[in-house]
Amino acid sequence: MEQQFDTSKIGMWLFLATEVLLFGGLFVGFGLMQARYPQEFIEAHEHLQRPLGALNTVVLLISSFTMVMGVLSAQRGDKKKVVMFLVLTILCACIFLGVKYFEYSHKFEEGLLPPRWYHAQSTDTVRDAAGNVSHGYGTFFAFYFMMTGLHGIHILVGIFLLSWIAVRAHRGEFSKAYYTPVDLVGLYWHLVDLIWIYLFPLFYLIK
């Protein structure tokens, strides 16, 4: 039993390492494009709402806390608390997606989109002689939607996983001796939080 638990955990960590590399590729791409279009990236990032990004960071950190409390409750065999903390975690995840929806719709309205659909903003300064704006602005939003979108999909998957183990916990399928699924979904959830910890400063904060 003990060995099975350890083995599943190693498997989960291997998966998490591949997740780091998946997002890592995008981070490298973002870094290169930022180096190529420094001025455009600075101006584009001003269109993101820092308070909303900070709010979502706090929401995700709290969700990580409720998650780890869920795992702790599972370790202690406290079924009711496991379900309660998992539901709280799902709630935080929904708040996160709600804020994201609000941010996305604002960007769609403003035309802050990947190059092909980008609407020039009056504040855009990098233009050619004819007044056309540089590709760099849209490139910023291409990365923004790709990376926060992929992260959002991970949140969605997380909500399904959390619901699934909440139902199983409610049915009494876990005990002090067996709570591996709670632990592993917890690891996944913390990784989603960890990725956001890097996404937030990169998109919202760095000038």
């Binding site: 350890d6 955990k9 190693i10 960590w13 998490l16 390492a17 780091v20 590399l21 890592g24 981070f27 490298v28 290169l32 180096a35 190529r36 279009y37 900070a54 960071t57 706090v58 950190l61 990580s64 806390f65 780890v68 409390m69 702790l72 370790q75 202690r76 403003e110 035309g111 190059p115 659909w117 980008y118 609407h119 020039a120 903003q121 009056s122 233009r127 050619d128 004819a130 007044g131 056309n132 704006v133 540089s134 590709h135 760099g136 602005y137 849209g138 002090k176 001796a177 917890g186 913390h190 990784l191 939080d193 960890l194 910890i197 890097y198 400063p201 919202y204 904060l205 760095i206 000038k207």
Partner: protein, 138 residues
């Protein structure tokens, strides 16, 4: 750790020895530390440190990520093999990043080879000051 936890540790020494390391109090402290660091990084973003901006933001993010991994993800108490896997992921990401930027550094800012020193102009829609040129494109 509270008394009740110590009692249960005596009752279930095996389960306890293997998995029970965290406590609610520790996790609360972890959360508070993470929130404080978030406040610091947001606050610092309103001050311009020039080239230091990126370094400060990523340094604080890395501290936060380490705290999450050590406490929330239990790496502090886990078998070392999990930490090795986690570090390997970041190590290879670091190698990837390093070689990309060495390459970037040798390319005169990713500009085309015939770059004339002016701005990289690959423009998109005509500038219409926030109006909606995409509708015209269709």
């Amino acid at each position: 750790m509270s008394n009740s936890e110590q009692t249960s540790e005596h009752l279930h020494p095996h389960a306890h020895a293997k998995h029970h390391h965290g406590s609610a109090a520790l996790y609360v402290r972890t959360l508070v530390a993470l929130l404080i660091l978030t406040a610091i990084t947001v606050g610092a973003s309103y001050i311009d440190f020039g080239a230091g901006n990126v370094v400060i933001a990523l340094f604080i993010a890395t501290i936060k990520a380490t705290i999450v991994a050590l406490f929330f993800m239990h790496l502090r108490w886990d078998k070392p093999v999990n930490a090795v896997i986690a570090c390997a992921g970041f190590l290879f990401l670091g190698i990837f990043l390093m070689f990309d930027f060495i390459d970037f550094g040798s390319r005169d800012g990713l500009r085309p080879v015939n770059w004339d020193g002016k701005l990289p102009i690959e423009t998109v829609a005509p500038a219409t000051s926030g109006a909606a040129p995409a509708a015209e494109k269709k």
